[in-house]
């Protein structure tokens, strides 16, 4: 794809990149702490990944290979348009293969394949404040983070257990980072939460509308909130992928006809394709 002229490398101007880079370095030094930044207006609306795009623009170099996923898929509108955006404005190579990418921007999934020390995972975050549904005031939640006062979240989990017999949070499941900050892992399924812990790759989080950046350095302790007698459990649909037969991956449920037919397939399209290329066959393939 040919790069377009008239824009700086990777779209953002250098002063904006410096501002984001300074925020990123402080974010890495204070794992899980949300840092305000001057989120710019991007050529797509808030809610389409502007936070992640700004972080990607600030870190991307000409040698990087970029992968973008949306709910695990490389081929949905958001993923395709962001990948094309950086191919045009930065001229970087893009890929759909998890193992070939150096920077992976993601909306709401962590790839199934384990990430390495040479990769950076950039999350698009709609709501960075894990306490927002418990305390609407930003001034108050800032103070709660300052005091590490997270009892309200434990009460919320406890109320779930009394009502439903289990914690009824299936995505954006709150985590404690480095035993200090309560953090929203963006709306990844709770299934992905264990991958946050001690991940070899650097994880960066950008919330464009909410104007916050935060980070988890590599090999950092990330614990999903739970109780001793109700330990955290990562759920997945009790099926095997219809296309590749994987029985440990996170699955999407797809309606295939008007007669109630259902197909469960891997949400991570690259993982599914890699398995099918290797000869694995699911029941519906």
């Amino acid at each position: 794809m040919t790069t377009i002229s008239g824009y700086n490398f990777a779209y953002l101007d250098e002063q904006t990149k410096r501002m984001i880079r300074r925020a990123l370095l402080k974010a890495v030094a204070i794992p899980g702490h949300q840092i305000p930044f001057g989120s710019r207006e991007m050529p797509l609306p808030y809610g389409w990944g502007t936070g992640g795009i700004q972080i990607t623009a600030a870190i991307l170099g000409a040698d990087d290979v970029l992968k973008v996923i949306d709910q695990g898929a490389d081929d949905t509108t958001n993923a395709v348009s962001i990948r094309r955006f950086f191919a045009k404005t930065a001229g970087v190579a893009t890929t759909t293969r998890t193992d070939a990418a150096t920077v992976i921007q993601t909306r709401h999934r962590i790839p199934e394949a384990p990430l390495t020390e040479n990769q950076i995972l950039v999350y698009q975050v709609p709501q960075p404040e894990p306490l927002v549904k418990l305390e609407p005031s930003r001034a108050e939640t800032r103070r709660m983070h300052a005091l590490a006062e997270y009892g309200a979240m434990h009460v919320r989990l406890y109320e779930d257990i009394t009502r439903y017999g289990q914690v009824a949070i299936s995505y954006d499941y709150p985590v404690m980072v480095n035993d200090r900050y309560l953090m929203a892992p963006s709306p990844i399924p709770a299934f992905d939460n264990p991958k946050l812990h001690q991940m070899p790759a650097l994880q960066l989080f950008g919330a464009g509308r909410e104007k916050r950046i935060y980070a988890i350095p590599p090999y950092t302790n990330v614990r999903s909130l739970d109780f001793e007698d109700h330990p955290f459990r990562a759920g997945r649909a009790p099926h095997a992928c219809g296309l590749c037969g994987a029985d440990t991956s996170y699955l999407d449920e797809v309606v295939v006809d008007n007669a109630g037919g259902r197909l469960f397939v891997c949400s991570d399209t690259d993982y599914c394709e890699t398995r099918r290329d290797a000869g694995h066959v699911g029941e519906a393939a």
Binding site: R21, R22, L25, K26, A29, H33, R180
Partner: protein, 191 residues
């Protein structure tokens, strides 16, 4: 006249490469990172320290220069677009020639710990000298670090900085074209 010395040959690509080196250094403490972009900073400013300043400092930040680096002030004014601040206690970036009392630098607040100083400190060597063991986020296992040029009581002074986490300063040690970052989250033992 130091102003005749150029900054980055390719300001966009060189700043990006330097930033990624600092980001890697900050997220993998103790791992030396080399600045590969050609740079001729005015003496006594070293390549790594100069590259970090060119990459991160601009008119939106405050920079304190120790007197030792007065010769580089004009160069930094021109290439970073910042006027060095006379106030060390509030500066976002501090370039020192010897380790200052860390508690006198901006520490950030409990609500905004990011409003703290990033200290750049040139040292003689990052491969030989006093040995430390690093532990903390970014490190899978305790990691060794050897530095020549830190005061003998550095471990105790760093412990005081680390103890007030999430407040505290972040330190970037520079030796020639190589740098090592010590984020405040890091605990450091003498080895």
């Amino acid at each position: 006249m130091t102003l005749s010395l150029p900054g980055f040959a390719d300001p966009v690509a060189d700043a990006q490469a330097c930033f990624r080196a600092v980001l890697t250094a900050m997220s993998r403490p103790g791992t030396p990172q080399r600045i590969t972009s050609p740079l001729t900073p005015p003496a006594p400013l070293g390549i790594a320290a100069a590259a970090v300043l060119l990459t991160l400092v601009d008119g939106d930040t405050s920079l304190y220069l120790a007197d030792h680096f007065a010769n580089a002030a004009d160069w930094l004014r021109f290439h970073c677009g910042t006027d060095p601040s006379p106030d060390r206690t509030t500066a976002g970036f501090v370039l020192a020639d010897s380790l200052p009392d860390l508690a006198t630098l901006a520490q950030g607040s409990d609500e905004a710990p990011q409003d703290s100083a990033t200290l750049l400190l040139p040292v003689e060597s990052l491969t030989a000298g006093a040995r430390f063991t690093l532990r903390g986020p970014g490190l899978q296992a305790p990691t060794p670090l050897a530095v020549t040029g830190l005061p003998p009581d550095f471990a105790a002074r760093w412990a005081a900085n680390h103890a007030q986490f999430p407040r505290g300063i972040d330190l970037i040690l520079c030796a020639g074209d190589t740098l090592v970052a010590l984020p405040r989250s890091l605990s450091l033992g003498e080895a």
